[in-house]
Symmetry: C2
Subunit: 336 residues, 2 copies
DNA sequence: CTACCAAATGTAACCGGTTACATTTTGATA
DNA sequence: TATCAAAATGTAACCGGTTACATTTGGTAG
């Protein structure tokens, strides 16, 4: 390991020569396929051992035409919802003998296109993408490479590619209805930048559409804990006091909770707070945050399974809707 | 995209035939290297266009011997410290034309070995690994594939492979000394399972070694928000009341903070709380959590740069220590 | 002892690019 | 118009495996 430097890896022909057999025989030993006599097999094995032979992935890929890699494009890794999803995706792919190449797009469609090109150029057999805002160049790329593409994080059967995810619109509407059912009349919605992420904009639109009868206002902010805190600070500073706060992400809900606490406003007595994503701390915070459990792990598994199936059978995968569940905790209460 | 099914991708010879030139000429056009007459170049370009030609990554890799991929092994993706690190690693590698293949080991050395094999077998040119507990099989693997390996997350110049990271021992000692300097005499240390992760065990050992004069006890728990909360619950239930709590991870500090709050114990007036990792919420929580900033992003960048340099020059990378800084916030205060 | 079949092994083409070297074309100069 | 270097293009080997097909070997039945 010290200096692994200039050194020529032994190849199959070297092994063959060393073992006094033909390349075909060595290949057969490697693929434990055909019958090779025990004596020969052992001779080959020891030649492999002696030369430290390691088969070349590229050569194998070249004539099988299969690279056994899948590319994933995600906006970021630092959101635990994506991390959980990727974790599951990787695990399932790995079980099936595929490796996962990850590329981060920062939610920028142009970056997505160029990273997608990089992945395809690298020879991935398929792509899994979070988000649905693509450049036309991206579509052209897919067209050209003729590779299966799966979209995750939202469900939309009419999309250009099969989608596996939850119905962000329905879920956001459910959340609004949940608060309405509790008797809330004035609602502030804290959300991240809608132009970066179509999941976010779907949630916003649906919340707005479900507003019927409620007084609802929207507070755009950044997609992090500090964002939630800032939004609340501005809200309170502006003198408004909604009876409930709907945060379209739990990170923001956490920040909101902290800020309300800092301002001495009691949750849920004075304001109810509801989050989205059911991140791990939401169950443990004081008070626990009512949230919506998104099946990130299931999504990763399903995506992996669908894509591999697509590759195996050549049959386009079909879209799949996953259920989300409202988890009621202490941060919301009835209002009358 | 509908049925991308049975379809033979055009290859370089097809293009050559279609454009009435030789394969060498096509290759030259592709690599924009040598001079090709404008007329010919255009003819080739349009043949490429017409046939939807896409060069094969495998073939290119085969004769260049370079796959342009790097493998990363991490215990998990769901810890934001790893996510930040990977994010940076990916970005830097991508800038240099390398793709990142991620494999998750769950902190299990045997899994690490088998995933490492998978990556090497896939043809990665180098490995970046978080953690330092390897099987001997892993070392043998590296020996055999003769591939550069870099260890991150801790600094240890005498390790078998170059390490890039922070000195967990020194940092933990600093944390203890910081609390001692504030006048704390009784200290409880909340930490994750030491057997899964050598960074954790290094921190524990160093804290213990730095205890001199302090009354210190250790509370093992799980590595998540709930773990911090549970540890505090048990601590308080057992009737102990240290003046300060050192959590060897911010996720645990957050859980501890919530639980203390739930129990009506004021931070920092009754108990000071100190964390580790400076996660994003630590600045925003109420009170803000005193923590230690670990340079995860810098670590990712440095690791990428070192590895690529190693690949380019053939010169083994050297270990590198990164600085960590204590960020003092409202969760700790002087004790007398 | 020969014929014959199965098992074992070998030969060579092929996957799809790159590239050293050979050959042809172009165009400028004498 | 002959000459020659530079530019353009072509030929074929090579990277390291896999595999269809050919050949050799071994054992058994006739």
């Amino acid at each position: 390991m010290e200096d692994y430097g200039p050194y020529k890896r032994a190849n199959l022909r070297d092994v063959a020569r060393h073992a006094n057999v033909s390349v075909a025989t060595v290949s057969r030993v490697l693929n434990k396929s055909d019958r090779v006599s025990k004596a020969t097999r052992e001779r080959v094995q020891s030649a492999i051992e002696a030369l430290g032979f390691v088969p070349s992935a590229a050569a194998r890929t070249l004539n099988s035409g299969r690279s056994r890699t899948i590319g994933a494009l995600v906006p970021t890794l630092t959101h635990s919802i994506f991390a959980r999803y990727l974790d599951a995706l990787e695990e399932e792919l790995s079980n099936q003998g595929y490796a996962l190449i990850v590329a981060v797009t920062d939610g920028v469609p142009e970056l997505e296109e160029s990273k997608a090109f990089g992945l395809l150029d690298m020879g991935v057999e398929g792509l899994v993408i979070s988000g649905n805002r693509h450049t036309s160049g991206f579509d052209a790329l897919v067209e050209r490479f003729r590779v299966p593409v799966l979209i995750t994080s939202f469900f939309e059967p009419s999309a250009r590619y099969p989608t596996i995810g939850y119905d962000n619109r329905a879920i956001a509407a459910n959340a609004v209805n949940f608060l309405r059912a509790l008797g809330h009349k004035t609602l502030s919605v804290i959300h991240g930048p809608p132009d970066v992420n179509d999941r976010i904009s779907a949630r916003i639109d649906a919340a707005r559409a479900a507003a019927g009868g409620l007084s609802m206002n929207f507070l755009p902010t950044t997609m992090d804990v500090a964002g939630g805190a800032n939004a609340v600070r501005e809200l309170i500073a502006s003198g408004q006091r909604p009876s409930a706060l709907l945060c379209l992400s739990d990170v923001q809900a956490l920040g909101a909770l902290f800020e309300l606490q800092r301002q001495g406003i009691s949750v849920p007595d004075e304001i109810s707070v509801m989050g989205f994503d059911n991140l791990e701390w939401s169950a443990v915070s004081e008070p626990g945050i009512t949230s919506i459990e998104l099946p990130a792990v299931e999504m990763g598994q399903k995506a992996a399974a669908s894509l591999i199936d697509w590759l195996k059978t050549g049959q386009r995968a079909s879209s799949m809707a996953l259920d989300a569940t409202i988890i009621e905790r202490a941060s919301t209460k009835e209002q009358n």
